[in-house]
Amino acid sequence: METYYVSSLWCVPRHFFDQLGETDQSNCLFCRGSAVWSRVSEPLHIYIYIFVCCYINVLLNIEYSLFLNDIIEDDKECFSLSVSGARSLSMTAQLQAQVQTKSKKTLARPGVKNIVLVEGVRTPFLLSGTTYADLMPHDLARAALQGLLHRTGLPKDAVDYIIYGTVIQEVKTSNVAREAALGAGFSDKIPAHTVTMACISSNQAMTSAVGLIAAGQCDSVVAGGVEFMSDVPIRHSRKMRKTMLSLNRAKTLGQRLSLIGSIRLAHLSPELPAVAEFSTAETMGHSADRLAAAFGVSRIEQDEFAVRSHTLAKQAQDAGLLQDVISFKVPGRDIVSKDNGIRPSSMEQMGKLKPAFVKPHGTVTAANSSFLTDGASAALIMSEEKALAMGYKPKAYLRDFVYVSQDPKDQLLLGPTYGTPKVLERAGLTMSDIDVFEFHEAFAGQIMANMKALDSDWFGQTYLGRKSKVGAPPMEKFNLWGGSLSLGHPFGATGCRLVTTVAHRLQKEGGQYGLVAACAAGGQGHAMVIEAYPQ
C-alpha cells in the first residue's frame, strides 16, 4: 500500500516525496515553511485534503502570511524604528554615491553596436495567492507589456520581436510571450518566443534581445519575464495519465471498461511540481542552508541581511524610487500599485522563526528566504541609433554579460561568485569601477555565502583559477533599494527588475557602471555590466 504524508497544511502521497530521496525533509514544498508530516494509509483522507487544500490556491502562502500576520500584529510600528542602524548606513551610502565623479571612460567599442535599455517596467510583485490569485500568467505578462507601451508611447507595431522568460509553465499558454503580446494589442506580425533558465529566465530574454540586435537581426525588441505561483500545473499521476491516454485509443466498450476498471484509488493522487533540483532531488532551500553552513554564515548574519533588505525596500518604496512599478487594475479587484511583500521587522521577530529546511540546526527560515511571488516585467531594448531616431532618451547601455554554470549540488547558488569576476574581466573593469551592485537575493544565506566566496583567497584560487580573491562588493553600493527577499521574486521576472533597477540607480546616484548578478536553479548564474547613459 502506498504511504501518504499529511501535514496540517498540505498533503501528498509518498511517491511525491520520493523525489526528495530518502531524506527527512518535511517542509511544505510550496510555502516552504515547516510542517509536521504524519503517516496515514487511508487514501480517502487524502482526497478530502486535496479537495480542501489543493484547489484553494490561498494555501500556497498560508505559512508566509501567518508569519506576516504575526509581525504585523506584534510590531505595527517597527518599520523604521527597529533597524535604524541599517538605515543610517544606507543613507550615507546614497550621499557618498552622489558625490562620486563621472570621469570614467565608456565601454563603447568600435565596431560593436551600442545597445540600450530604453525603459523597464514591472507589475507590482505580490505574494502569490493574494490579489492576482484568479489571473493567469499571460494576464500578468500582458499587464507589464501594456504598462511598457503606455510608459514609452511605443507604437504597437514598432518592435521587431518579443521574448519572455518564465519558469513554471502554464500548459495552456506555453509560449506565454505570444499570448501576452497578442493580448496586449501588439501587431500580430511580431514574432514572440518564450525562454526558460530558472531564476535568470528574463536575463536570458534580455540577452537574447541583445544578441538579436547585435547580430543585426532586429533593431528593437521587447524582453520580459513572468511568473505566476498562485496557480501551478498539478498533474494526474503518471499511471492515471497513461490510463486516460489509453482510453482515448480504446475502440470497444469492453476495452474502455477494463481500462476504467484498472484505475486504483492511488492513481488519483496528483503530482505536484517540485521546487527541487531534478538532478540532486534537493530542495533549493535545503541547498541554501548547506551553502550558508559551508561558508560559516550565521543565522544572525542572515536575519540582519533580510531585515536590511526589507528596510531598504520600504525606504525606496516610500521615497518613490521604485519607478519601474506600474499600476495594474486587476479585473474584479482594486488597482494594485505597490509590492506587498515588504515587511521590515525586528531581529527579535526574525529570531523567533524555526529553520524551514534543515532541522533542527539549520539557519534558513521563511523570513530570510525570498517568498513565492506573482509578477511580470518588461523592458524595451534597442540599438542606440534606433532609440535616438525614435526620439527616446535611453536609460543605460547594456554591455558585457556572461552565463556561468557549476556543481548543482554544493554550489547551486554561487552563480554570482563565478559570474562577477568573469564579466568584469570581459569588460576590462575592476570591482572598484562598479558604482551600483544589484544581486538577486534568493536567500539571505545565499547572498552572504557569495560575499564570503568572493572575499576568500582560498576559494578564488581553488575554484576561480585566480591568484587571489575577487573581493566582495561594498555594502554601501549593494542592493540599496531592497531586493528579491523583500520586493519579491517572481522567478521568470526578476532579471528585468535587476537591470532596470541598476539603470535607475545609476541615474539617481550618478554612477557610471552597474553590475547585475544572479544565481539560478541548475547551478547556473548570470552577470551583466550596465553603463549609465550620459544624462
Partner: protein
Amino acid sequence: MLARTHVSYELKDDVAVIRLNDPTAKVNTLTWQLQSELMAVMEEIWANGAVKGAVLISSKPGNFLAGADIKIIQSANSSEEATGFSRQVQKQLEKFEKSPIPIVAAIHGLCLGGGLELAIACQYRIATKSKNTFLGTPEVKLGLLPGLGGTQRLPKLVGLPEALDMMLTGRNISADRAKKMGLVHQLVDPLGPGTKPAEERTIEYLEEVAVGVAKGIANKQVPLTKEKSLMQKLQDTVMGLGQVRKMIYKTASEKVQKQTKGLYPAPVKIIESVKTGLEHGTKAGYLAESENFGKLTVTSEANALIGLYHGQVTCKKNHFGTPEKDVKRLAILGAGLMGAGIAQVSVHKGLTAILKDTTEESISRGHEQVYKSLNTKVKKRALTSFERDVTMSNLSVQLDYSGFQSADIVIEAVSEDINIKHKVLKEVEAIISPHCIFASNTSTLPIKDIAAASKHPEKVIGMHYFSPVDKMPLLEIITTDETSKDTLASAVSVGLKQGKVIIVVRDSPGFYANRCIFQTMAEAIILLQEGAGPKKLDSLMTSFGYPIGPVSLSDEVGLDIAAHVAENLTKAFGVEGGHSAHTILSDLSERGFKGRKSGKGIYLYEDGTKDRSVNPEAEEILKKYKVAAPPAVSSDSDRQYRVVSRFVNEAVLCLQEGILRNPVEGDIGAVFGCGFPPFHGGPFRFVDSMGAERLVSIMRRFEDVYGNRFTPCQLLLDHAQDPSKKFH
C-alpha cells in the same frame, strides 16, 4: 605526564570537544594507546566542574573510529586474556554511559565495531549524511562478536530484531537508515566547499552542531529521548513479552543454523549473549558477552576469517607501482554476460567503457544488462535516476572499432576459441595506440598462446573475471614471461578501480582458480558416476562449508563451458578422470542440458520453484557412465575429502610451480573465486590448521584405491615431513 598523541581536547565555552586522531594510521582504531588516553582525558573532564557537556569527534576525514584494533585480539594468547580486554573496556564504557555530563558522539565516516560500541555508550549521537558514513558491527565477519558492550546496548537501543540483524549480518548501516532505526539521534548534511575544502568544513560543521546539542542537553532544551510513536510503543509492548522474545531467539537461531550449517560459532554466541543480557539482567549479559568474546578469539574460525580480512586488504593494493599512464578508457570486446559485466563494474566506478560486439542484438542485450543493474540501484534508492543517467553516459555500445584509438586498455571477452582471439587481437592492434594494453578474459586458454599473434606481446595480459562480474569480488590477473611490468601495474590499477580483490598469477592452463575448480569438478563427476546422486553430493559439499555444491556450480557456470574447460585442461595436464569429465559434460550439453541458462542441466530449472529437482534425462545419461563405488573410500566424509583434497593439493602444487606468488593470494583466490569455505581461511590455512601430515595420510588412502590423481605434491609432502613448516 606523557604528552598525549592520540586524543586531545579543548573547551568551547562549557563544552569539551574531544578529538580522536591516531597519528600512526590512516584510520582511527581502538588501540591500547587511544583507549588509555581517552580515559585519561575523560577523567580530567569529569573532574572539571565547569564542563557541562562533551563532544566526541574524530579529526580524521572519513572515519570516526573503525573498530577495535585487530592486533589486540590477535595478540591475545588465551581466551582469558581476550575476556580481560573485553571486561576492561566494558567497564570504561560503563563510565561513559553513566557520565554525569552528556557526551555527544559526532560521527563522520566509518563508525564500526568498537567505534560503534563507544558511540552507543554515549548519551547522544549525531552523524553526517555523507555517503561514507556507515555504522555497524562487522565483528561477526571476523568470527567474533561485539565484545565491548554491543550485544547488551544495541538491543535496548534499536530493538531486538534490528539488533540481531545488525550483529548477525555485520552489515553496514547508512546514516539515513541509522536515524530511522534510532541508532543516531540527529543527522547533519555534508557540506560543499566554502572558504576551505568540503571535507574539512563538514567536520567543523558537525562539531559546531554537536557542541550546540551538548549545550542544549545540558540546559535541558534538547531531550535525550524522543517521544515514541504509537507503533514503537506497540512494538515495545510486544517485545516485553517473554514468549515473543523466545520466538525471536528461536527463529534467529534456526536461520543461523540453516545458513552456517553450524560451521560458524560466532552467530550462535551473539544470540546467546544477547539472550543472557535480556533474560538474566545486564550484569550477567556483560559477563556472557566478554566470556564468549574470549572464547571466540581463540577459535580457528576467527583466526581464518581474520586472516582472510588481512589477505583481502593486501589484495586491494597495487604492489606493482603506479602505471605510467593512468588508465581511464576501456574498450571491451564481446557484450555477453562477461563483457557487459566488466563494462558495468567499470562505468559504475567512473571509468569510461566501449562495449563492442558483432550483432545489434548482443550489444542491445549488453546495454540492457548494465542499465538494469543501475536501475535496480535506483529502485532501491541507492542511486538517483540522475546518477544512473550520468553513469550510463560513460558507456558506449557499438558494432565498430571507432574510439578504440583512444582506449587505454582493451579487454576481450569473445568466444573461447584461439582463432577468434587471434583474429580480434590482430584487428584491435591495427587500431589501438602504442600504450594500450590488450587483456584477455579467457578462462583457460594460455595467455602466451594468445600473445603469440601479437606484435606487442609485452602489452598482452590475462584478466580473468568471475561471473557474475558485479557480484564476484575476485579478479585473477595472469602474466606471461613477456608481459611488461607497466602492463601489469596498469591492469592491477584497472581492477582496483573496478573494486576487485586481485591475485596475480603466472600463465598456465586454467591459471590458478579454474585449475583448482577443475579438480573439484572432475572428482564430482566421478562421484556422480559412482552413484553419489547430485543432491546428496551438493549437500555433502555445502555442509563442508562450500556456499554452493559442485553440481549446482556446474549448472550455474554452464555445462558446455565446464566441458570446454575440461577439454582444455585435460589436454594440458592429462588429468586423470578428466577424460570422463569431458565426455560426460559434453554428452550432457550436446543434449541441450547446458545448465541454468537453458533451463535444464543436471537439475531442472523452472520459474517460480526454488526447490529444484534432478533432471531425469540427465540422470539417464549419468547412468550410462556408471562405475562401482569402492566402499573403502565412499563414506560421506571420504567423499568430502576426495573433493577437497584434490582442490587443496592442486592449490599447493600451484604454489610449488610458482603459478601463485604466495599462499595469501592462494587463499584469497580460493575463497573469493572458488567458494572455498571461508571459515577454513583458504586451502593453505586449511593445511596449516589441519596439519599437512593428516591430509597426506588421507590422500594416501585414496591413492591406494585410485592411483596418482591423489598423489600429494612435493610441497605438501615437505610440509607433512616437517610440522614446523607453515604457509602462514
